[in-house]
C-alpha cells in the first residue's frame, strides 16, 4: 500500500483556487521532488498537507497510511508521522528550543503509547542529532528560531525532523536563502535521514537542491496541476529548458 495518495485535490486560499486537481501517489521511503514556477501551487500543496487552516480544500481526497488525512488536526498529522520543514520558520520568543522539542517529542510518543523520554535520554538524543546538523549546542537554550540567521532556521527545521523521525517529511523550499555551504550541510542532514521508513516531498523552485538531495521522482507543478512527472533526469531537463516550455504545455 502506498503511504500517501492524493486524488484530484482542489484547494482555495482567500476564495481563489490554487490547486486545481492534484493527483500524486507516494510510496514508503520514496523521495519525490515537486518543482514549478512561483505561484504554481507548490507551497500551497505543502501547507494543505500539513493542515494549515488558511487553505480550504474544496474537492478531492488525501489518504495517509489509508486514513483520511484531511479530517485530521495539524497536531494529529504530526503525531501520525508527518513533518513539515517550513519555508519561513516562525520565531517564538519566550519558548526555548529545548523545551519546545521535548514537548513535541513527548506528544508524539504519547500518541504512540510510549512513555516520556527521560531528561538524560532526551538530551543524549538531541546532542547526537545536533552534531549531525553541525549545529551549535547554544541554540538549544535560545528561543525557537528567535534571532536565528536564515541558515540556522533551516538547519533547525531539519534538526527537528532528525529528532522527531517522521514517516513523511515535507520540505518546503528548504534551499531558499541558503548559500552553498549551508545548502550542503542541510542536504547532508536530509540524506542521513533517508531510509525505507521515511518518504519525502521536496518542494523547490531550483534544480540546484536536487544535485544534493537526489529524488526518486520529479513532478512539475504549473497552475495548480501536475503537468509532468518523471525520474530525476526531469529536473536536469528543466534546468536547461526552464519552466517556459512547461507553462506553454499547460495552455496548449
Amino acid at each position: 500500500m502506498s503511504l500517501l495518495e492524493i486524488k484530484n485535490l482542489h484547494a482555495n486560499v482567500a476564495g481563489r483556487e490554487i490547486l486545481k486537481g492534484i493527483d500524486l501517489v507516494i510510496g514508503a521511503g520514496e523521495v519525490h521532488a515537486i518543482m514549478g514556477p512561483n505561484g504554481s501551487g507548490k507551497s500551497t500543496l505543502a501547507q494543505v498537507l500539513s493542515g494549515r487552516d488558511l487553505y480550504q480544500v474544496t474537492g478531492g481526497e488525501v489518504l495517509y497510511d489509508g486514513k483520511d488525512l484531511l479530517e485530521m488536526s495539524p497536531e494529529d498529522r504530526a503525531r501520525e508521522g508527518i513533518f513539515m520543514a517550513f519555508q519561513y520558520p516562525v520565531e517564538i520568543p519566550g519558548v526555548s528550543n529545548l523545551y519546545f522539542l521535548k514537548a513535541a517529542l513527548n506528544a508524539i510518543r504519547k500518541h504512540q503509547g510510549l512513555a516520556d523520554l527521560d531528561a538524560m535520554d532526551f538530551l543524549a538524543l538531541v546532542k547526537e542529532r545536533m552534531a549531525l546538523m553541525e549545529m551549535d549546542q547554544s541554540l538549544l537554550n535560545r528561543a525557537v528560531n528567535t534571532g536565528f540567521s536564515g541558515g540556522e532556521k533551516k538547519r533547525n527545521e531539519i534538526f527537528q525532523m532528525a529528532v522527531l523521525q517522521p514517516k513523511l517529511a515535507i520540505l518546503d523550499e528548504t534551499d531558499s536563502g541558503l548559500d552553498i555551504d549551508a545548502l550542503k550541510t542541510v542536504a547532508a542532514g536530509v540524506n542521513a535521514l533517508r531510509g525505507p521508513e521515511r518518504a519525502m516531498i521536496v518542494v523547490t523552485h531550483y534544480q540546484r537542491l536536487l544535485n544534493y538531495i537526489v529524488p526518486d521522482y520529479v513532478h512539475v507543478l504549473a497552475e495548480g496541476r501536475i503537468v509532468k512527472s518523471g525520474g530525476k533526469e526531469l529536473a536536469l531537463e528543466l534546468e536547461e529548458s526552464g519552466y517556459v516550455g512547461i507553462e506553454g504545455l499547460v495552455s496548449a
Binding site: A78, P93, V95, L101, I108
Partner: protein
C-alpha cells in the same frame, strides 16, 4: 502615637468616603461592592499577618516596635489624606508588622510574609499593615503572599517601605485570593539616595482587585516595577503605578504584562512625574496585554508629567492576541492546541517570570499560571 494617627485617618475617611467612578483615579473600577461589604463586615477572628523569623532581621508587631521609628515612619508615606483605602486601613488595622533590616546587613534568606484570609458565609474585612525600614547599605528580599478562600471578604493591605541610602531591596507581592475576594492594596515606597529597588506585583486571584504601587525616588535611584496579571471569568484587576522622580539622575523601568480571558477586565494606569529638579531622569514604562477573548476588556493609560527638560521618558502599550503562525508551528510538531496556547501564553509572561530571582517563587508562579490557564480551558 498610633492612636492619634488612627483617629486622624478615621476622620479623613469620614470626610472623603469611598471613591466613585467620577474620581479620575477610579474611573474604570467601581468599588460599590466593597463599600457594601465593609458596611456589614466583621473583623476576622485571627490577625491576618503571620510573622516570620529571619536571621539578622528585626520583625515584631507594630505595637512592639521602637516608638521613635514608628513616630518617624508609620503613615508618613502612604497618604491617608489622599487615598480612602489607605485611610480605612490606617483607621482599622488590628495589628501590623514592623520589619527592620539593620544598617549594612545583607539578608540572603527571603523575608516571607503570609497573609491568608477567609470568610464563611458572613463577610470579613481585614487591613494588614506592614512597615519595612531598610537601613542604609542593607540588602533584602521581601515576599508578601496573599491567599484566601470561602465566601466574599475584603483584604485591604498597606505596606510602606523606607529604603535608606544605597539599600538594595527586592519586593514580591503574590496575590492568589479566593474567587469571591475583594483586594485593594497599596505599596508605598520611599527610596533614599542610590538605592536599587525592584517590585514584582503578581496578581491572579480575587473578584475585584486594585493595586497601587507608589514610589518616590531620590538622586541616583534605580527603581524597577514589574507586574503580571492574569484575569479570567468576571475578574476585574486594576493596577495603578506612580513614580515620582523628585531628584536628578534616577532611573525607573516599568514593565507590566497582562493576560485576559473570558469576560475579565483589567486596567493599567502608569503615572510618571518628573519634577523640575529631576534632570537626567531616565524613565521607561511599558504595558503589554494579551487579550484571549473577545469579551475581555483592557484599559491602559500612561500619565506622564514632565517638568524637567533634560530627561528621557518613554512609554508604550500594546494589546495583542496569540500569533496564529506560532500556534500552527507548534501544532505542526505534534503539540495539541490547548498545550500550544499555554506554551505561547507562558512565553508572553516569560520575561516577567525570569526576572524573579527566588527560584521556588518562580516555580510556584509558573505552576499558578499553568493551573489557572488549565482551569480556564476546562
Amino acid at each position: 502615637m498610633i492612636d492619634q494617627i488612627r483617629e486622624e485617618a478615621r476622620q479623613r475617611f469620614r470626610e472623603i468616603g469611598f471613591p466613585t467612578t467620577h474620581d479620575e483615579d477610579w474611573r474604570f473600577t467601581s468599588v460599590t461592592p466593597i463599600s457594601r461589604l465593609v458596611a456589614q463586615a466583621l473583623s476576622p477572628a485571627a490577625p491576618a499577618l503571620l510573622p516570620a523569623q529571619v536571621r539578622g532581621v528585626e520583625i515584631s508587631k507594630l505595637s512592639d516596635a521602637p516608638p521613635d521609628l514608628i513616630e518617624a515612619h508609620l503613615a508618613r508615606y502612604a497618604s491617608y489624606q489622599a487615598n480612602a483605602f489607605v485611610a480605612l486601613n490606617t483607621a482599622n488595622f488590628q495589628d501590623g508588622l514592623f520589619i527592620r533590616i539593620p544598617k549594612g546587613a545583607v539578608i540572603e534568606e527571603p523575608i516571607e510574609l503570609a497573609i491568608p484570609s477567609s470568610a464563611n458565609g458572613h463577610p470579613t474585612a481585614s487591613h494588614p499593615r506592614i512597615l519595612i525600614v531598610a537601613e542604609p547599605d542593607s540588602q533584602a528580599t521581601i515576599i508578601e503572599t496573599y491567599t484566601g478562600h470561602g465566601s466574599a471578604y475584603f483584604t485591604n493591605p498597606v505596606t510602606e517601605i523606607v529604603a535608606g541610602d544605597h539599600a538594595v531591596i527586592d519586593h514580591y507581592k503574590l496575590q492568589t485570593e479566593g474567587a469571591h475576594a475583594f483586594h485593594v492594596s497599596t505599596l508605598q515606597i520611599q527610596l533614599g539616595r542610590d538605592t536599587n529597588f525592584r517590585s514584582h506585583a503578581l496578581s491572579f486571584g480575587g473578584a475585584l482587585v486594585r493595586n497601587d504601587v507608589n514610589a518616590v525616588l531620590s538622586q541616583g535611584c534605580e527603581c524597577t516595577l514589574n507586574g503580571l496579571y492574569l484575569a479570567a471569568g468576571d475578574q476585574h484587576i486594576d493596577n495603578h503605578t506612580s513614580i515620582d522622580h523628585a531628584k536628578p539622575h534616577a532611573a525607573s523601568h516599568e514593565l507590566y504584562k497582562g493576560i485576559l480571558e473570558g469576560h475579565s477586565r483589567a486596567v493599567f494606569n502608569g503615572k510618571i512625574l518628573v519634577r523640575k529638579d529631576a534632570q537626567k531622569t531616565d524613565a521607561k514604562q511599558t504595558n503589554k496585554n494579551l487579550v484571549l477573548s473577545e469579551d475581555a476588556v483592557i484599559d491602559t493609560k500612561p500619565e506622564l508629567q514632565i517638568l524637567a527638560d533634560d530627561v528621557r521618558c518613554t512609554h508604550g502599550a500594546t494589546i495583542g492576541q496569540l500569533d496564529p503562525e506560532a500556534l500552527f508551528y507548534l501544532q505542526s510538531r505534534g503539540i495539541g492546541l490547548a498545550d500550544a496556547r499555554n506554551l505561547l501564553i507562558l512565553a508572553f509572561a516569560r520575561d516577567i517570570v525570569d526576572r524573579i530571582k527566588v527560584a521556588p517563587l518562580r516555580e510556584q508562579l509558573e505552576r499558578i499560571l499553568l493551573e489557572k490557564l488549565h482551569a480556564v480551558r476546562n
